[in-house]
């Protein structure tokens, strides 16, 4: 058997992010529901509305990206670890997980921090 650190150190975050996602993603989806926002689906995606969303709760959207990417990529990592085994393979998958996660989170951070003003 391959020696590894406790898997629950990372897996427990899978469930914590899941709990957070229920609320944050629920809110994110509710932004698109006409019965709640009063806008049609495509109006809610207009530049004006999107800019308004970013300027009033950009931090929430960034946080949503952070937890959703973690939850999703960790799930994918689990599938890859089930597919094939081996020390090199496991280390590669774990490294790739963090690289892809940080890269995508970097894009999301960039989006939120240097969003140009509308106009």
């Amino acid at each position: 058997m391959i020696k590894m650190s406790k898997a629950s150190n990372i897996q427990v975050w899978q469930y914590i992010t899941a709990i957070l996602l229920i609320f944050f993603l629920g809110f994110h989806l509710a932004e698109r529901i006409p019965q709640i926002t009063g806008l049609t689906y495509h109006q809610s995606l207009d530049a004006e509305n999107v800019y308004h969303n970013y300027s009033s709760y950009g931090w929430a959207l960034w946080f949503l990206a952070a937890i959703a990417l973690f939850h999703g990529l960790n799930g994918l990592r689990g599938i890859f670890l089930e597919w094939r085994q081996g020390k090199t393979y496991t280390l590669t998958v774990n490294a790739l997980f963090w690289i892809v996660y940080l890269a995508l989170l970097g894009i999301a951070t960039w989006t939120v921090i240097s969003l140009p003003a509308l106009g």
């Binding site: 058997m1 898997a7 427990v12 670890l81 089930e82 085994q85």
Partner: protein, 304 residues
């Protein structure tokens, strides 16, 4: 999934058995068909034995007790992993479709025909330390006290200790199919059986063993292990309990139930034993009671 309650119909008179056999020399699978006459109450194991006796003596399969106790005859019958001795032909073959397919258990390396290699299965079973661990190893040898257990605490572990290691759950598990290192339903159920046992003190050690990338985190609750278990051990429940316990322990919200030691039983009240009075007269005529009492009891045992 067990015994179906009564009313299993009589199987069709002739049933076709399609058997997936493995040729160890060529290292490949091939299908073979046999047609046999059936009788009411015939199990799939009976049918396989009949094929072996009458048609093809080269057919290899593992079996022993014929009554769902030993757990040797697990095979995939009509697409579902189950015990051949607990599956009646009448329950699965109908007049419209008198075909029974038998395959070796999935997710095990085949040896020959329906024989599969259980080496890794038992390795995994051993790896979770399926026995009581006490901090003081001499305690069970020299101790004069018992580890008390309430009926409720016994009920918590009883169901999981019914496992007969037939390995049917591994064949149904979608994760075991992908990940050969996955500890699997049987081993994890056993880990939970001992973690939840109030007499056990080795839970820290055991939780460390199952807390790996190929331990309990790989279960995704497809619950197929429970659905096929012939002894209703319910490994799916055990794994979920094990996993939530692991997280609760990590977050500091779980405390292990332990048993108290109970000393030897001493009764200090008045004696309740009744003394049987001596017979005063012989019950059979012609027996000298006084002489009988004095005479030692001799029983002749012929030793060859």
């Amino acid at each position: 999934m067990s015994l179906v309650e009564g009313g299993i119909p009589t199987p069709p008179e002739k049933v076709i058995f399609k058997i997936k056999r493995f040729d160890p020399e060529k290292q490949e699978f091939y299908w073979k068909e046999y047609e046999i006459e059936t009788f009411r109450g015939m199990t799939v194991l009976d049918a396989l034995l009949k094929i072996k006796e009458e048609q093809d003596s080269s057919l290899a399969f593992r079996y022993s007790c014929r009554m769902g106790v030993c757990g040797s005859c697990g095979m995939v019958i009509n697409g579902m992993p189950r015990l051949a001795c607990q599956t009646q032909v009448g329950a699965i073959a109908t007049e419209g479709n008198p075909v029974v397919t038998v395959e070796p258990l999935y997710n095990y390396p085949p040896i020959r025909d329906l024989f599969t290699d259980f080496t890794s299965f038992f390795e995994k079973h051993k790896s979770v330390k399926p026995y009581l661990i006490r901090k003081d190893p001499q305690e069970t040898e020299t101790g004069d006290a018992e580890f008390a257990m309430t009926p409720e605490e016994y009920e918590d572990i009883y169901q999981f200790s019914l496992c007969i290691s037939c390995g049917v759950c591994y064949a149904a598990c979608p994760v075991a199919a992908m990940d050969p290192l996955y500890l699997g339903p049987q081993a994890l159920a056993y880990a939970w059986r001992y973690v939840s046992d109030v007499r056990d003190e080795g839970y820290e050690e055991r939780l460390k063993i199952i807390d790996t990338e190929h331990g309990c985190h790989r279960c995704h609750f497809a619950a197929s292990c429970s659905a096929v278990c012939p002894k209703v051990v319910d490994p799916a429940m055990a794994i979920q309990k094990l996993r939530s316990t692991l997280y609760k322990k990590k977050l500091g919200a779980w405390k292990k139930k332990t048993s108290k030691k109970v000393g030897p039983y001493h009764y200090e009240g008045p004696s309740r034993a009744k003394k049987v009075p001596q017979l005063t007269e012989a019950l059979l005529p012609g027996v000298d009671l006084e002489a009988k009492i004095k005479e030692p009891v001799n029983i002749d045992i012929e030793l060859k």
